[in-house]
Symmetry: C2
């Protein structure tokens, strides 16, 4: 039996990146796509709760079904797992995202939100992103690596509770680095404008402040130096060391 | 100088839980509130990017300023840090959430999204939640513990990169347990209905499947047994052990 691969993204069903990912996945197995019907960038693991969600079949051909959905990337995975697929998929791929999900972006990313949802459900799950926001970005160099990574995950699985955050640099690629999430944060984040009616409003903007630019172990370093970065990412956010450090809180009465 | 405390939540500025948290924080320092202008549950670390955000002053009195904002909980923290506060706050408190953020809920929670944003910015940050969704929930028993936890964080700080996910059970409280995030996931998640016009739509619902109900180290166990759970939670999602396990990926060319 061919592997069953679920695909989603956060840029929406119309993006070039998801088309490239679908092409890639179709060489590996049977593919079901459940993707947002428009852009859902920076939706993290957000769920749609205040309103219901909708989905509809866009296209069906041998080995490929494509659905679009009114919800977030995480909604897409939940809907596919619970309402569309007749069995648990063997793999979940999310992307290919137009823009990096390295460093702290992992916690805001809708692409990675979908991946975490897969991981929570014990399905080997990978997010693919390239460091290029352009709508017509060139995925050809990245895909050479992404396809091999996808195939290796398919053959070998992933450790329990671990998913992959895979990012590719712009330009030529030197190889692959297993990396850690770079420490840093976004700063100067809002641009203040005033409407014609006198109301102030604020656009999210700013730049990423890398707190460890020289650390060769980080994903930002890998990308800046021409490597594909793979960060093994876990959905258990517990800091086990801190449990020991903070035991004094148990004395509170 | 009194400590400066930033407060937000995901239930919105009108909720009882945030009023209780404001009352509590005002006994500890000067308080600035930047909270969503309505419910933003399950918004995770979502950011508002497709449209701008707005905020406005609701109330100002000595030691307390209250703003409401059109964005997500994470937007609220970013806006307060970048546009409203004249210095970095000493503490960020989020909540008190009406409903548990234990177990895997931590990745969906808007309450905890705000806490992660504080942690990324190196500010000691705590999310407070109680296991009661009722609008008029009784916070009195939980607050006895929450206030002591808040005071301890204020006096001692937190380890770098660590924030706290604090949940209180319903009813009488036996004490405090330092806990780990329970393994589990939500299942049977959508209720299918049909509109008067014949269109299917889906409401998110379902129940939490606890994969380790007997594990006394978990937050779900603590809550089920009458304890306040504190999970030290980290925003570095890297699985460092898996970096070693997956080194073979670096051979991809």
């Amino acid at each position: 039996m061919k592997p069953l691969i679920l695909i989603t993204n956060d840029d929406g069903i119309q993006s070039k990146g998801i088309s490239e990912l679908i092409d890639m996945a179709c060489t590996l197995g049977n593919v079901v796509v459940m993707a947002p019907d428009g852009p859902r960038s920076a939706q993290s693991n957000a769920l749609t709760m205040a309103v219901p969600v909708y989905y509809q079949l866009e296209r069906k051909e041998p080995g490929l079904e494509i659905y679009k959905c009114s919800g977030t990337p995480t909604d897409c995975v939940k809907l596919a797992l619970n309402n569309v697929l007749d069995r648990k998929p063997d793999l979940i791929f999310s992307g290919i995202n137009h823009g990096s999900n390295s460093g702290i972006n992992v916690i805001y990313s809708g692409t990675m939100g979908a991946v975490f949802e897969g991981c929570v459900n014990e399905i080997p799950s990978v997010g693919f992103s390239i460091c290029d926001h352009a709508k017509d970005a060139d995925f050809s160099k990245a895909k050479v690596y992404f396809e091999q990574i996808a195939r290796k995950v398919m053959m070998e699985g992933l450790p329990a509770g671990v998913c992959l955050n895979v990012n590719a640099p712009m330009g030529d690629i030197k190889g692959v680095r297993l990396s850690q999430q770079t420490k840093g944060y976004w700063t100067e984040e809002f641009e203040n404008r005033t409407s014609p009616h006198g109301q102030d409003y604020y656009w999210l903007t700013g730049y990423f402040l890398n707190q460890e630019p020289d650390n060769e172990l980080t994903d930002e370093w890998a990308l800046a130096n021409g490597y594909v970065s793979i960060v093994p990412t876990r959905v258990d956010m517990t800091d086990y060391e801190a449990i020991k450090l903070l035991k004094g809180y148990e004395e509170i009465r």
